[in-house]
């Protein structure tokens, strides 16, 4: 047979080759830092733009919070992600980070709040709540990983698992995301340093009406299909997390400002078409009730809870006709995502800020509590009836979903 030398040489080649290959892979992934985990200094044309943050927001935002140490955060779903601006003048000068991410569950919002608070004690939080988050059984998404957060669910510090290092330095996904990062330098990355998403859709020509129809169809047939409102007894993860958020905020005297997202009138018509209108009202009552309950227990005045939904000047914005790809709506992308322009007015009201030259409609936004909620809900019902008589085609389209 052949001598032993070739085998020794062969094994040496393998050893050397493997080491070199891994060194190259890890170095590339570290340099590109596609998820921002390692806070690598930005080099123009190489890694300064981070185009994959947007599709990995739970991972990327957890680390941005560690690096930036904000004193205030925004929590919410993709609506808050797109619409609420950390640079709004009403925040009061401290560094703010938009920690909202798509389809955020209440439990995730609690955990990310705990994470941010442990990194740097928070002074202020704005939370944009959405109806679907309180659906019984709404779970965190598959890309939610508790291990990325600085504290566990009991508030105790936890160390980085080795999995995050493996995933971000020694995985094919990281290489592919690194290459995507490299190839998209100089383009709009999709999110800003302060966490806010920069665009809703990349499409040059955006057919608002078509997007409304698609979104409404999705909500009617998926999110609202078997919608049951979560209650404390049967879904501690949702209402329980809401309570814990409030409890912590009251105890630590953090300035919390709560809001119900300004969904477009047509989105609310979808809720009604699904037979969920009274559930929707019940949800608002529940939000207010739990807030006041926790305030009472803590002996503090309750946090403001704003309702920006309803049938007001902004939520009833006319939708351009189907096929019109040129008109740009002022306040909305589609039936649930509002534009930054509307978000700025939301924050104007929340912070009692008056921006020179910016008008906020009188009928927009109501602070709700158990004292006024019944009148408020009754008024929305009246406004709705009026809008329905003047918008037969919108009503027809949303009711057509029932077929």
């Amino acid at each position: 047979m052949t001598s032993k030398r070739p085998f020794h040489e062969y094994l040496k080649k393998i050893g050397l080759g493997l080491t070199m290959a891994f060194a190259v892979v890890v170095s590339f992934n570290l340099l590109m830092d596609p998820y921002g985990v390692y806070d690598i200094p930005g080099i123009d044309g190489i890694n300064i733009d981070k185009p994959v943050f947007r599709s990995h927001s739970r991972l990327a935002k957890a680390y941005q919070v560690r690096h930036q140490k904000p004193a205030a955060i925004i929590l919410g779903t993709s609506r808050g992600d797109v619409g609420l601006d950390p640079n709004h003048p009403g925040w009061g000068g401290h560094p703010v980070y938009n920690l909202a991410f798509p389809v955020a569950s209440i439990y995730e919002m609690l955990r990310y709040f705990q994470h941010a608070h442990s990194v740097n004690p928070l002074k202020q939080v704005v939370i944009d709540f959405d109806f679907f988050q309180f659906q019984k059984g709404h779970l965190p998404r598959s890309d939610f990983d508790e291990k990325n957060l600085a504290v566990d669910s009991n508030g105790l510090p936890q160390t980085q698992g080795i999995d995050t290092y493996l995933a971000t330095l020694a995985s094919l996904d990281a290489i592919s995301d690194g290459m995507e990062t490299l190839s998209k330098q100089g383009q709009n990355p999709g999110s800003l340093n302060n966490g806010r998403a920069t665009f809703f859709s990349l499409r040059e020509q955006f057919d608002h009406h078509e997007e409304f129809l698609i979104n409404e169809h999705n909500y009617f047939n998926k999110q609202y299909r078997k919608f049951v409102l979560a209650t404390l007894e049967d879904d501690p993860l949702i209402v329980g997390s809401y309570r814990t958020l409030l409890k912590t905020a009251y105890r630590r005297e953090i300035d919390f400002r709560l809001m119900i997202s300004p969904s477009h009138a047509r989105q609310q018509e979808v809720i009604a078409a699904k037979g969920l209108w009274s559930t929707f009202e019940k949800w608002k009552r529940q939000l207010a009730q739990v807030n006041e309950d926790e305030a009472r227990k803590a002996g503090k005045p309750s946090f403001p809870l704003w309702d920006f939904s309803g049938y007001n000047t902004y939520t009833t914005e006319e939708v351009p006709p189907l096929g019109d790809k040129m008109s740009s709506m002022e306040w909305y992308w589609e039936s649930s995502h509002y534009k930054k322009e509307l978000g700025d007015r939301v924050l104007d009201l929340i912070f009692s800020h008056v921006e020179p030259g910016r008008v906020v409609a009188e009928d927009f936004g109501v602070k709700i509590s158990s004292d006024n909620i019944e009148q408020h809900l009754a008024k929305i019902r009246r406004d709705r009836e009026h809008w329905r008589t003047t918008h037969p085609s919108d009503v027809a389209e949303t009711e057509a979903l029932r077929k």
Binding site: M1, P6, F7, E9, Y10, K13, I14, G17, L18, A21, F22, V25, Y35, R54, S55, H56, S57, R58, L59, T77, S78, F101, P102, V103, F132, R141, S142, D143, D145, D163, L166, A167, T168, A170, S171, L172, D173, A174, I175, D177, F200, E211, I214, N215, N218, Q223, E334, S336, H337
Partner: protein, 225 residues
């Protein structure tokens, strides 16, 4: 002489069976594992028995020399092993039964909706199948379409036509007593493994790709929520 011969054979079969049952049990403490072992024991016994009978009937003419004989043998072995794997991987015997029902078409057949049109090009085969209860629906959660079908075809090609490990390493006598097993020697310098740089590079590439695919980074596809 005949009796001792047969007793020796029976003993050999029993040993095969016992060994395979134990191997099954070694994999896990469950009936699915034992049955898996038992199936492989049966296959071995049937194979040995068949070769013994073949010698008597065909008087040493090797039937596997024909392509059809070889192909049939491959298919039978493949199906037998696949069915045994289903039991091995099932959570319970009932679970395995459900899998078999699906595999044998007892639960019906489902194809993507556009296949109706494609199949109808073949003398209206699509409508014919639909008439016999085949479904054409979008509710195919687990089927990834052409990519999946293509991958399976590629894997099938590799399974049935590519050299196996013993043939890759044949220069270096990778196992004891191989000569009697009729494993065809692959006469190709390209296909044989040798400790040269080209093979080192190929091995390193495969190793690195495998190791790097262990960990995934979850992505959130930006649905408009």
């Amino acid at each position: 002489m005949g009796l001792r011969h047969r007793k020796g054979t029976l003993l050999r079969f029993a040993n095969l069976m016992i060994t395979m049952l134990l191997i099954g049990l070694w994999h896990g403490a469950g009936w699915t594992f034992v049955i898996w072992g038992g199936l492989h024991g049966s296959y071995l016994v049937i194979n040995h028995g068949w070769h013994a009978i073949k010698k008597k009937i065909f008087l040493n003419t090797p039937t596997s020399a024909t392509i059809w004989g070889h192909a049939l043998g491959c298919m039978l072995t493949f199906i037998g092993v696949v069915m045994a794997w289903v039991i091995f991987r099932a959570e319970s015997i009932d679970g395995a039964t459900k899998m078999f029902e699906g595999m044998f078409g007892i639960n019906g057949f489902l194809l993507p909706p556009n296949y109706l049109g494609y199949l109808n090009h073949l003398y209206g085969l699509g409508d014919f199948l639909a008439g016999r209860g085949w479904g054409f629906s979008e509710e195919l959660e687990f089927f990834e379409g052409l990519v999946e079908a293509g991958s399976l075809l590629l894997l099938a090609f590799i399974t049935f036509f590519a050299p196996n490990t013993l043939q890759w390493m044949q220069r270096y006598k990778p196992a004891l007593g191989l000569e009697g097993f009729g494993i065809k020697r692959f006469n190709s310098r390209w296909v044989e493994w040798r400790p040269v740089t080209a093979w080192a590079i190929a091995t390193i590439t495969l190793a690195v790709l495998s190791l790097l695919s262990f960990t995934k980074v979850s992505e959130f596809l930006y649905f408009q929520f």
